[in-house]
Structures are given as C-alpha cells and as structure tokens.
C-alpha cells in the first residue's frame, strides 16, 4: 500500500512537472495575414501601433513566450509613450484641443493582458498540435498519481473514524519544507494567472479542445483556472470521502460543495456562453461577486434581453433575500461550506491544512477589523460605481469610480482572495480569505451572530478541554473556550464545516438549527453540579 502511494506521488509529480514545463515550450509569431486580421479586428486608432506590433510579431525568429511578450509589450509602450509625449507637449503649449484629441490614440489595458491576446493567436508547437496527448501527460498523470496516492488510505487509515495520526509529524502538514514549497508553487501560480497570463498561454492550448466542446470557443486563462479548480476539488473530495467515511454530514457536505462548483460555477456558465448568453454563476452572491454592479457587467446584462434581466434580478434577490433568509434557518454554513466555490476549495484541497489557522485572541481581534473593513470597502465601491453609472459622472464623494474599482480588484480580488487566500493554505490554514477577507462572509456572519437558528451546541459538562476542536477549526475559533464552559458556540465566523464535532473524542459538539430562544447560553459550568452552585457561579463574569 505504501509503495502504491509512493508510486502515485511520483506519477503526480511527473504530471505536475510536465504541466509546469510546458510554459517554456512553443514558438510565437504571426504571419502577415494573421497579423492583419488581428489588427483589423482591434480597430486601434493609433498610427504607430500597426508598425510597431508588426515589427514585433511578424517574424521568422523562433520566439519563446517570454521574448514574444516582451516585444509585444514594448510595441504598445512605444505607441503609448509617443502619444503621452504629444499630450505633455500640447499641455505645456496650453493647446487644450490638441491635447484632448490625443487621448483616443492611447491603448488602454494591462500590458500582459494585451500581450496575452496576441500570444493566444500566435503560438504554435508540440502542445498546440497534440493537445489531447499533452492533456493526458499533464492532467491525466497528475489525476492518476493523486488517486494512487489517496485511494490506499482506505486501507492505511484503518477502521472508520477520525484518523489525524501523524498530522503534526509530517513536513507537509506541519509547516515543514514541503508546505513552504507548496506555498511557493501556489503563490507563483496565482501571480502568473492574475498578473502574467501571457506567460501561461500554453496551458490554454491543452484545454482548447475541451473548451470548444463546452462553449464553442478556445480556452482562456480563466477556463484553465476553472477546469483546474474543478479537477482539484474532485480529486480532493475523494480524499475527503475516504477520510470522513464514517461521517454522513461530511460526505453530504462535500458532495454538495462539489456539485455547486462543477455545475453552477463551471458548467452552467460555459453552456450559457455557448448559447450566446452572458456566462453567469447563479450561486455567486454579491459582494463576493464584487463586479456584479460594475458598468461592463450591467451593460452586458442589459444587452442580453430576458436572461440578462433575470440575472440582474436574481443577483439582487440572492443577496438581499435568499442569503439572509437561508442564514436565519441554517446558519452561514449553507453558503460557506455547502455552496461557495472558495469554501469548496478550502474544504477539499485545504483540508490537510485546516489546523494552521491562528487561534489567538489577537488574531480574532484582527479578523474582525479586517473583514468588516473589506465589507465596507466593497459597499463603498459599489455605491460609487452605481452612482457614477446612473449619473454618468466620473466620481462620487470625491472618489474616482475607475480608481476604486481597480484598487479593489487588485488588492482584494486578486491579492487577497487568490494569492494570499489560496496560496497561503499550507502555512496559514485553508480559510485565510474566508476568515479575514470575504465581504460576503462578513455579511452572513452578522446575520448568523444576531439573527439565526444555527448554533453549535455544547453537550452539558462532558468537555475535557483536550483541544482537538480548536486545533482543527479552520476559522481559528477557540471552540474549546466555549465547550469547556458548557456554552454553545455562536460566532459570526463559524462556517459550519462540522469538523469540530467530528474530531471531538467525547461527543460534546453538535451543529444544529434550533429555536432562537436559548441559543446563546452564557453559562459557567455545568451539569453535574447542584443548582445552587451554578446559580452562584453564573452570576459572576468571566475571569
């Protein structure tokens, strides 16, 4: 069994290595007619870009993606620099008309995104020509290896039950060098995906056939990400099924979160795209879906007829009505650990790292400041955006709409949710984003704390303060602090994953939706004592 595991690990690493290595393959250039087609479609007003780009990309040289990207970016920069120079010149001459004319010639967009668009069309080579075979060598091998690594656990873990043996002895799950290596790889992946998509354009070639099948078009970097996401969740869900096979709650929850990711977040939007509709993830609620009210999205929905209107109404109803009502009945878990895609990855890929969340009081204080600040930030951004959208102005309350959107997208959307949120799994635990950053979680948390039927019930006086619950709480809640006092756990951050209840060796914790009355029971111990003592003890405040 151990041997099978090791073989699996080697196969997985080979698949991963090939996948990583493909970035460095391929040759990038356009011929005259391809270039003309591209430039005509683009309809640039700049008189310079045509020649500059042509010099850069129409070539017999065998350019790799890095050389190609650098040339393309330079072409765009040359063009923009030229018009910036003119703007500065007319500005100093106070020739306002001329100055204003120049802006139309500038080409907007992130350099690496502009370069990605051309690169997507310019690549050729082994990967592009053999996408199917390369898929098997990368995804295929990695999936096979991972399964060979995971499936033997069915036997190796022994009889059904909680088997966290050795978690703090293994480098990978105890913040050892393997964990750091995984962190570096994940962070690098997100940096490339968000900020240097052109460098990983080869990955899109691997998935072009699948993308064409699903939505009729070639794969984008987001398709690659979505496909990877689903694949990883599926494989790691199998790990969850084996690990928690004695626990129906975990099995059903894992199935639910997997279903919503694959069907709602991945397949439905792809199919909608193939039907010329806007691709929309029906479960992705604002403000987690922070660009729902951005101009481009509202425009897209307005131009999509009935379905667009439906999505618009659905999105608003989801956030304002469905989400809080469901939280009232079931707690925020219905979203965070049963439906949400971020939560889905955290509960599958992230499960081996759940013990790393910081349980200190300091972390809790910090968490409350940061997460509510992000909520306020997202709402402020939306107010500004909508005001500007309807009034046709550039800014509101002295805040430039484009600036605040860009800032939020960059800081929160890319860095916090992606690079830190997932990249930091192996060291800081699997729910850094959900705990510290997610504005939707903050909103759900407020409802859960003050108006919900959900609680984690503590079973009388049975707690032995062992600490398993706190250790394995991915949200950094010091569950034990409540359990040992006989108090129910009512915390806005609890995502109801149910692991505290699963790892408790004495059966002290149960997630339930009960009557609101008596949900919060600030007692000091506990059953087993006679009542006079308990009355006395409960009259006092906590030391």
């Amino acid at each position: 069994m151990k041997t099978i595991k090791n073989i699996g690990l080697v196969i997985f690493l080979v698949g991963l290595a090939i996948f990583t290595f493909t970035i460095f393959t391929g040759s990038f250039s356009l011929n005259e007619s391809e270039f003309n087609a591209f430039i005509n479609a683009k309809d640039y007003k700049s008189e310079i870009i045509h020649d500059e780009l042509k010099k850069a990309v129409v070539t017999d040289e065998d350019l790799n993606i890095f050389e190609f990207s650098s040339r393309v970016r330079k072409a765009y920069k040359t063009s923009n620099d030229y018009y910036d120079g003119l703007i500065a010149k007319y500005d100093s001459e106070k020739n306002w008309d001329k100055k204003g004319e120049q802006f139309q010639y500038k080409i907007y967009g992130k350099p690496h995104t502009l370069s990605y668009e051309i690169a997507k069309k310019a690549g050729s080579g082994f990967v592009k020509d053999n996408a199917g075979m390369v898929w098997w060598l990368t995804f295929g091998l990695a999936i096979l290896g991972a399964l060979l690594f995971i499936l033997p656990n069915f036997i190796l873990l022994g009889s059904k039950g909680i088997k966290n043996d050795g978690i703090y002895h293994e480098s990978s799950t105890n913040r050892g060098w393997i964990a750091w290596l995984v962190l570096v790889y994940l962070v690098a992946f997100y940096l490339l995906l968000y900020f240097f998509p052109d460098y990983v354009v080869v990955w899109t070639y691997i998935l072009d056939p699948i993308s064409k099948f699903l939505n009729g078009g070639p794969a984008s970097q987001w398709f690659v990400y979505g496909f990877l996401y689903c694949t990883i969740m599926l494989v790691m869900a199998i790990r969850m099924y084996i690990k928690y096979r004695h626990n129906k709650y975990q099995i059903i929850r894992t199935t639910s979160v997997l279903f919503f990711q694959i069907v709602f977040a991945f397949l439905i939007p792809e199919i909608m795209t193939s039907l010329n509709m806007p691709g929309y993830d029906f479960k992705n609620a604002f403000p987690l879906d922070y660009d729902f009210f951005f101009e481009w999205n509202l425009e897209a929905l307005r131009n999509s007829g009935a379905i667009g209107l439906f999505i618009l109404v659905w999105g608003i109803v989801l956030t304002l009505i469905i989400v809080p009502v469901m939280v009232y009945f079931f707690g925020k878990r219905w979203y965070c650990s049963w439906v949400c895609g971020c939560g889905g990855l955290a509960e599958t890929l992230g499960d081996p790292y759940r013990q790393h969340s910081d349980k200190s009081l300091k972390a809790w204080k910090l968490e409350r400041w940061i997460i509510h600040a992000v909520l306020v930030f997202s709402l402020l951004m939306t107010v500004v955006t909508l005001y500007c959208y309807f009034s046709g102005t550039q800014s509101f309350l002295g805040i430039n709409s484009q600036w605040i959107k860009d800032t939020y997208s960059f800081l929160i959307g890319a860095w916090f949710a992606g690079v830190i949120g997932t990249g930091f799994y192996p060291i800081f635990g699997n729910r850094v984003w959900c705990r510290f950053g997610c504005p939707l979680a903050a909103y759900l948390g407020l409802v859960q704390r003050f108006k919900s039927r959900f609680r984690i019930t503590t079973n009388g006086g049975q707690c032995i303060s062992c600490g398993n619950c706190s250790t394995y709480c991915e949200q950094g809640i010091d569950v034990r602090a409540y359990a040992q006092k006989g108090e129910n756990i009512i915390r806005s951050s609890c995502v109801g994953c149910g692991i505290c209840s699963a790892v408790c060796p004495r059966g002290v914790l149960k997630l339930e939706n009960g009557p609101e009355k008596g949900r919060i029971n600030p007692t000091e111990i506990l059953l087993g004592n006679d009542l006079d003592l308990m009355t006395l003890v409960n009259r006092k405040n906590e030391a």
Binding site: G158, S159, K160, G161, I162, N164, D165, G166, I167, Y168, H169, E170, H246, N247, K248, Y249, I252, S360, T457, N459, G460, G461, Q462, I464, S465, C466, G467, N468, S470, T471, A481, Q484, G486, G498, S501, A502, P505, R506, G507, K510, L511, G514, P515, K517, G518, N521, T523, I525, L526, L527, G528, N529, D530, L533, M534, L536, V537, K540, N541, A543
Partner: protein, 448 residues
C-alpha cells in the same frame, strides 16, 4: 491581602484559581513541578499521535495568567509546615500561605512487580510520562514491541497511541474481559472484539509476574504469571489504575488515608488546608460515589465548589448525577446515572447492540418501579441535559424509551436507532412503547 497557594496546576487547581479570581482579589499562587502552564491531561495521547502539538493542549494563552494575576511558580513541594503555614521546596525555597489547596492529582499504580522501576517502564499520566513514551517508543524500529499492563481507560489509550505508530502491542488485562469491573458484559465483549480488530494482542485474565532487565538497566521482556511465557519488549506501560499523589504529605500533620482526607466542604483536618481533585478522599461520599474519584469533571466541580467556600460562601461539594465519557479507539462512550457491571438485586438491564458491532447501549432500571437509573451508550452520542433531567425527575424507563429521539446528539444526517432499540425492548418485555419524534420544545425545556 490573603494569599491562596494551590499545589498542582491540573484541572482542579486551575479551576479553583480561576473561580477564586472571579470572586475576589486575593493573591493567588499556583505551584507545579510538572509544567509551566496548565494543560489538558486527557489530551496527552493526541500529542504522541500527532493530532496536536503540546501547546494545543493548553486551554489558555500564556498571557492569561498574568492578566488575571494568577502567579505561577515552578517547583516541587517537599514538605509542608502547617504551623508556620510554610511550603518547603526541593531547591530550598519557601513559600508562605494563608490558605492552602492541595490538588496534586494521581500517580500510576505500581504493585511491587520485580523490575517495575526499570528504564522504559512507566505509566501515562504526566507530561514527563509522555516524554518517556516518545523516548522509549518513538517508532517500531527502536521499539519492536510494547507491553501494556492493566486494562483501564489509560491502558487502551496507550494501546491506541502505540499502534498509531505501528508498534506491535501486547495488552495484559487481569480481568476476564476488558473493563468488566465497570461495564456490563455485552459492552465489555464488544470492546474486546474492537481491540482485537485493531491488531492489539489482547490477553485477558492475565497477570504480570516480572519485568526483566537488560545489561543497561532497561526493560527487555516481561514474564506472565499464569503461563511463565516471556514476551520480549522495549517498552512497558503500567496502567493498572492510579492513586493519590500525596507522598510529600507524609511528614506533615495533614491526615491522609489513600488520599487526603476531606469532609464535604473539602476541608482537611488542618485549618486553612483543603484538598480537591484526584488526590482528595471524601470521608462522606454522596449518592453511591466512591471516596476517591480520579475523573476530570469531578476535579473541575470540586475546584468550583471550593472557590465559593474560600471566598466566604461556605459550600458543600454536592455532585449531581454521575456522568462520564471516554473513547475506545473509534468508539465513543458516554454514561449517565448508574449502570453497574452486573445489575443489583432490584435492577434490570436492557441491552441493544447494532449488528456492525460498534454501537450499543445498556439501560439500567428498577425491576419493580421501572424507574430509569442510568444509561451507557457506545457509538451513539446523547444529550447530557436530557438525561440529567430524566434522572432528576425519576422518569420511568418507558418514558425514556418513548422520548429517546430527544436525547440523540449525533451529527446531522446520521442514522437513528431509536426505533430499533425500542422494538427490541418491546419484544423482550412484551410492552408496546411507541417512540416519539424529536421535539425542540421538550429539548429546550431542559437546557439551561
């Protein structure tokens, strides 16, 4: 300011300290020779198994003590002079107290076996014991086999620990069936099978004769009394119960028997000296309880009670209904009220076991009045508050069976067994009890 000194930083001493601090501004010093900070003794096994790190077993962050003005002193108390109200430490330090709380817990029993003090022979009680297991049984190359002597809760935990590192374990149990001094036959037998399923070499009805030493003074094998068989091993776990850790009191004038003798107010024979937790021996134990209870919860309760007394609100230790819980490998166990290993004269037991052999319950009730006396559950979680109420209200066993669904505490979506259980009772007793659906209303009438 009155100075309260507590010897021992386990659950009893720490609970007393916390509650005294809540109720007063007295000066509090907690003395321990074991660790710097309070930790959960019950969780030691999980540190060895790699479920947690040692610091995770500490319920309070390190700043907690200073913030609440609870002074921590590391040291070993060798002698107490109750006349001068002075503690003498092994390093010649002294400490003067106004009131003293002895909360020194237990130590593993040793019954005078030859070789019981060899290297690699130890119990599993203290942090030092944990370090010992880590030293003598770090893996299955250094420790090719371990032998555990004594079949109680600590014994089976030690077996689980060692097997988590694939160390072969021989488990010597004096009784004819595991823990059958406490558990009814059906449950005890189920555990025998469960232990064997975990590849533990369980030897029932077996006593230890001696532990043999190698040239370096380390244990190398054990000899079995009944057969004379010699079992080679590198580690011997002595888990034949615990007894009060009070040797240091021998020279003082504090009265002791097996433990420190206390009245129902937890007072010793010496004024201003109290004892709580494992080391205390009740002179007048209440409702069927033993004079010495080495249990987490009772230690905690004594700490709370004594804090009231010390803060001017004299209070007797009056524990409520007995409850306890444990875990045997993968099977959780909870008990409420009294279920004896064999029913007393006026009692009957009802036993139900699931056909997967990992879940069972035993209910004890009065044969004549049908009053419900207690329950053991294995592999099924049940609500403490509900059973506490049923016991207080002296409910009848048929009422309990009828409302069993209210008491279920398993995670959501788990299979429920109330119907099965009740129908078995009905067929055995010619009754016609109909289980009722779970009712939040009834559950919440009970919760505090």
């Amino acid at each position: 300011m009155e100075h309260i000194v507590i010897i021992g930083n386990g659950i009893s001493g720490i609970t007393a300290a916390r509650h005294i601090r809540k109720l007063s501004d007295k000066k509090i010093t907690i003395v321990s020779s074991e660790t710097d900070y309070f930790f959960s003794r019950t969780a030691l096994m999980y540190v060895y198994m790699g479920h947690m790190k040692f610091e995770h077993t500490q319920p309070y962050e390190n700043w907690f003590w200073k913030k609440n003005r609870l002074e921590l002193k590391k040291g070993y108390v060798q002698q107490i002079d109750t006349e001068a109200k002075t503690l003498f430490f092994s390093n010649n330090n002294t400490l003067i107290y106004d009131k003293l709380i002895i909360a020194t817990g237990s130590k593993p029993n040793k019954f005078g076996w030859p070789g019981q003090d060899l290297e690699g022979v130890q119990g599993l009680y203290s942090k030092q014991d944990l370090e010992g297991v880590e030293k003598y049984a770090p893996n299955n190359t250094i420790c090719k086999r371990a032998v555990i002597v004594g079949g109680g809760l600590i014994g089976i935990e030690l077996a689980e620990m060692l097997s988590s590192r694939n160390i072969p374990v021989t488990f010597l149990v004096r009784e004819s069936s595991f823990w059958n001094g406490v558990l009814p036959e059906g449950e005890s037998n189920m555990l025998n099978r469960h232990i064997k399923n975990h590849h533990i070499d369980l030897r029932l009805g077996i006593n230890l004769k001696e532990i043999k030493s190698d040239k370096k003074g380390r244990a190398k094998s054990v000899i079995i009394a009944e057969t004379g068989e010699e079992i080679a091993c590198d580690f011997v776990g002595l888990t034949a119960g615990v007894s009060p850790n009070i040797d240091f009191l021998k020279s003082s004038n504090i009265a002791t028997n097996r433990g420190v003798l206390v009245n129902k107010y937890l007072e010793t024979n010496v004024k201003d000296v109290y004892a709580i937790g494992d080391c205390a021996e009740q002179q007048e134990p209440t409702n069927n309880r033993r004079p010495i209870e080495a249990v987490w919860y009772t230690g905690r309760m004594m700490g709370e009670t004594l804090a009231q007394t010390i803060c001017g609100n004299k209070m007797a230790y009056k524990p409520g209904h007995w409850f306890n819980s444990a875990k045997f490998f993968d099977i959780e166990y909870q008990t409420y009220g009294w279920v004896y290993a064999s029913p007393k004269e006026n009692e009957a037991h009802f036993h139900w076991i699931h056909n997967d052999d990992t879940k069972c319950i035993t209910m004890a009730y009065d044969k004549n009045t049908y009053r419900f006396l207690g329950i053991n559950t294995f592999g099924i979680r049940v609500r403490h508050a509900i059973f506490d109420k049923w016991l207080t209200e002296k409910c009848k066993v048929d009422y309990v069976l009828e409302h069993l669904a209210d008491a279920n505490f398993d995670p959501e979506f788990y299979n429920l067994y109330e119907k099965e259980i009740v129908s078995k009772f009905n067929s055995e007793n010619n009754t016609n009890i109909q289980p009722k659906k779970k009712s939040w209303k009834r559950i919440f009438q009970t919760s505090l």
